[in-house]
């Protein structure tokens, strides 16, 4: 039986009258990489901050490792590495002093000096003062700080933000390695390609509400398919006019359809005109994501 590392039930946060998140029911299981997707202001950071007890929920429950996030926050944080999205550091410190301080304030962790290995891997010069760092290097400091105690759970808020593509790949590799070690990663992002690359499951949050939680592989086959068909006899205009079907393009040779509903009927109709060739086009996670936000080619507010 799978072990739940993160579980929220009807988790709601309001900032005064402003919505943070509403009735978020979320489960992240041990050993998986869970991607939390949504645009700015959707509630990703709020959810993560509740899990590390920076923000207190207005209602609902949140637990990590089966422990209540508010009542047993200290026990939880012993096993969590957290990278905030809006990170600020002690600018006057050298990076190595910052990591030593972090180590010093985590006396029970068994990974002394591991930060050196991580810093080398990210090519971070720890002898320099943090205020001299570029945004990307500051982000590296945050990444190292999150990983340096080899936590059972990594909560990462847009971990590749500000990093160059090579370092982004290194960070994603570190995420995959954490999973291979049996650790759990919960990370938010709006870079869909990286979510597609490393995540097992993904949750899509929209205006504070979790609108979908699916395996990335399942999400990719939903909520629509894109078909490019060539016919022996070109169907007349209007042949595929029906709810759930959008004609994306057509020429003398082929028609490209986006099918959200009624695939059997579409195939039945197409067969009447003699299908010469049919190709299912790759739908990127980005397109699926945009579909969830009603900005895709069709409107899907699932």
């Amino acid at each position: 039986m799978s072990e739940k590392v993160i579980e929220t039930k009807e988790l709601t946060v309001f900032y005064g009258k402003h919505r943070g998140i509403v009735d978020v029911d979320l489960t992240v299981e041990k050993g998986e990489v869970f991607g939390f997707l949504g645009p700015n202001g959707a509630g990703k950071t709020t959810t993560q901050r509740v899990l590390v007890d920076v923000i207190r929920p207005t209602s609902g429950q949140a637990s990590v490792f089966g422990l209540d996030c508010q009542e047993q926050g200290v026990e939880i944080r012993k096993r969590v590495g957290y990278l905030p999205g809006e990170m600020a550091l002690y600018d006057k410190m050298r990076a190595r002093d910052f990591f030593r301080m972090y180590e010093y304030l985590r006396p029970d962790n068994g990974s002394q000096g591991y930060w050196r290995e991580l810093a080398d891997r990210l090519e971070l010069d720890t002898s320099r003062k943090i205020r001299e760092f570029s945004r990307g290097n500051k982000q590296k400091v945050g990444v190292v700080a999150a990983f340096m105690n080899r936590p059972d759970l990594l909560i990462l808020d847009e971990p590749t933000s500000g990093l160059d593509p090579l370092v982004q790949q290194t960070v994603l590799r570190m995420v995959r390695e954490a999973r291979e070690d049996g650790r759990t990663v919960f990370f938010s992002s709006h870079i869909l390609s990286e979510v597609q690359e490393v995540c097992d499951r993904v949750g899509i949050i929209r205006e504070g509400r979790l609108v979908a939680t699916q395996r990335v592989s399942d999400l990719m086959v939903q909520p629509f398919k894109r078909l490019q068909m060539r016919f022996a006899e070109q169907p007349p205009d209007g042949t595929f006019d029906r709810d759930g079907v959008t004609v994306l393009s057509r020429d003398d040779q082929s028609i490209t359809l986006e099918v959200r509903d009624g695939l059997p009927e579409v195939m039945e109709t197409a067969a009447r005109f003699g299908i010469a060739d049919i190709e299912t086009q790759h739908v990127s996670l980005e397109e699926v994501f945009l579909a969830y936000y009603g900005q895709g080619n069709g409107e899907n507010n699932a």
């Binding site: 900032y15 005064g16 207005t58 926050g73 957290y82 006396p107």
Partner: protein
Amino acid sequence: MLRLIWQELKFRRNAIIGWALGLSFFPIVYIGIYPSVAEEMAGLADLEIYQAMGVNLGGFEDWVGSILIVFVPLVLSIYALINGTGTLTGEEEDGRLEMLVTLPLPRWQIVTAKALALSIATVIILFLVSLVGAGVFLAIEGQLETELVAMDMVTGLLAAWPMVFAVAMIGMFLAAFSASRRAAALIATVIVIVSYFGSNLANSTSALEPFEPLFLFTYLDSTARAVQEGQQAGDVLVLLGTGLVAFGLALFFFQRRNLTVGAWPWVRAGSV
């Protein structure tokens, strides 16, 4: 928690040195020049403007009381106020607090460690300034007719620490309560200024007498007696009590608040 206190003190190392050097200006200049201006000062002793400013020109002991026991703690209160408000809300506003509170430390330990570190820092500053005061006293002692000894500079100034502690904790409370460092610092500054002038004016204006117990500086004795014998136990208890109550309130509010979002308590209370 000791680790966090030590870390906080390390952060304050430069500030401790800087403020100690800056505040040493008072004993070096104002006590150092006393022998050369003593006669002129005696003629100004009855001017009310000086009394309103909390300056007593009656004699060397009174002068030391005014300079060391009033002005040094008064100016050090600015440091206490800046740090008291900055240590929570300031770090929250610039984002550093989020990294700290997500370490496996309970919030009460964070507040307590910061309060203790700030308190220790102010004691160290006062002690260093008092040593300078003692040194200056030894340098001019031969030109004075006084019953004071060098050690009085040290004990007299350290005895004024509860005032600084009270201001520091009021600053921390306001920071934990409010959403804005600027607002917390503004309110704390008003409290210190009103308290200082209110206390002095209450001595010469009967209209302010009923309010005298409300002013913090009422509980700081700057007379010659205080230089030699220290502060009155009752006054010390009032100041320490005020500081501890403010610290307790800081703990209470910090323990319950959402961090990083800077909402005022009535907004937080209005969450639906």
